[in-house]
């Protein structure tokens, strides 16, 4: 068996290269299934080893949030240590109770953390993010989501608090970003908000879990819905991350394979055309087109999630 037969059609039978054979395709499929299974298993037996290494800065998230507000003609929100503390408590609680939601399994809600930090609010909201690589990706992801964007661009908010905390969630090493917004109750009274607005923010708990799937009212502006929207983070990681970052490893392996298949199919097309032989086989162009779409989708995926 010649090496060239792995890459080029057979010179006599004109069969496809070995690397494009059914067996090879089955091996690729098996490889990706095993890769996925390996990462899942590793997270179960060695929690906290695999995951995303982030370099997110608290001050940078605040700065970028204010840039977005100013772009939309709103005043910047000022950092409040009480909201920072509330955000940090929320992040710690998420790791302790191992959940990814606005409401904890034990029934704790965002408003409890804010009140608990000594910040009495008339308006408050919360955005969550995890597994992003960079600060700008977090804010970009929130801005791409209607409800999170509404939170960031809520004209009532005066203060902001951010917590960035690393830990292990569901066996996976991750970085949580908790963003709390608020308006102190005395300021809001001075602004004379409508009674309905104040009431709606103070009673999210009464609505129960069902409220989590409802769209938040503009006055509440709290992204309490559990509609995870997964957003992209670009690859800015080094090769050393490949061993511990399953997302990056999967992405690199996937893109390499798709590119390799693309080249092999192109070679096959070229050689068969040059030989001017007729062969009953699947067509090359749809293969190339599908591989391109897959590569594009894979390239644009990210481990980052917002809630």
């Amino acid at each position: 068996m010649k090496l060239s037969h792995f890459f080029l059609p057979h010179p006599e039978t004109h069969k496809k290269a070995h690397l494009l054979s059914f067996k090879a395709l089955a091996v690729y499929i098996f490889f990706f299934l095993m890769l996925s299974l390996t990462f899942r298993t590793a997270n179960v037996y060695n929690p906290g080893v695999l995951g995303v290494d982030s370099s997110i800065s608290q001050s940078e998230v605040i700065r970028l949030t204010n840039i977005e507000r100013e772009k939309n003609g709103l005043q910047a929100v000022s950092e409040d240590p009480r909201l920072n503390a509330a955000a940090m408590e929320k992040a710690k609680n998420m790791f302790e109770e191992n959940y990814w939601a606005h409401f904890s399994p034990s029934g704790k809600d965002p408003w409890g953390f804010i009140n608990g930090a000594g910040y009495k609010f008339s308006y408050a909201g919360e955005n969550l993010a995890k597994s992003f690589y960079q600060s700008d990706e977090v804010v970009k992801a929130w801005m791409a989501s209607r409800t999170h964007r509404e939170n960031i661009l809520n004209k009532h908010y005066l203060n902001i608090g951010i917590a960035v905390l690393e830990g292990t969630l569901n066996g996976e090493k991750t970085t949580l970003v908790v963003q709390e917004f608020g308006t102190p109750v005395d300021t809001a009274i001075a602004q004379i908000p409508s009674e309905a607005a104040v009431k709606s923010i103070q009673t999210p708990k009464e609505a129960g879990p069902a409220a989590q799937t409802a769209q938040p009212s503009p006055t509440v502006a709290a992204s309490a819905q559990v509609q995870a929207q997964i957003i992209v983070a670009s690859d800015k990681q080094t090769l050393s991350s490949l061993a511990t970052d399953p997302y990056l490893a999967f992405k690199v392996a996937g893109l390499t394979l798709l590119f390799g298949l693309f080249v092999l199919i192109l070679l096959d097309l070229y050689v068969i055309r040059r030989r001017a032989v007729y062969r009953i086989t699947a067509r090359h162009i749809p293969h190339l087109a599908l591989l391109s779409v897959a590569a594009s989708a894979l390239f644009n995926l990210s481990p980052g999630q917002i809630l």
């Binding site: 059914f22 395709l25 990706f32 992801a141 394979l257 749809p286 087109a289 594009s296 989708a297």
Partner: protein, 85 residues
């Protein structure tokens, strides 16, 4: 017969056009994994459908041909969805 031939041969080009549109949307919704999953699902479905129709009318739809499409479709699907570990 000529119309029929022209119609099914359209399928050889239609997926290429759709792919270009899907790639455009993939980059347009770069920050949305959900849309990336939708895009690859739609691409695989159209790829399989249009290819099967083409080969059926071309009278070249054999088990080997069908299997090749299915395997490549499955691989493309798995590579994209597998990353959502």
């Amino acid at each position: 017969m000529r119309i029929k031939t022209a119609t099914y041969k359209l399928f050889s080009h239609i997926f290429l056009l759709i792919s270009l549109i899907l790639i455009f949307f993939s980059f347009l919704y770069k920050d949305w994994n959900v849309h990336q999953y939708e895009i690859i699902s739609l691409a695989v479905a159209i790829y399989l459908g249009s290819s099967m129709i083409y080969h059926y009318f071309d009278k070249t739809l054999t088990l080997e041909v069908g299997l090749e499409y299915v395997l490549i479709g499955l691989l493309a699907f798995l590579v994209v969805f597998g990353v959502a570990i």
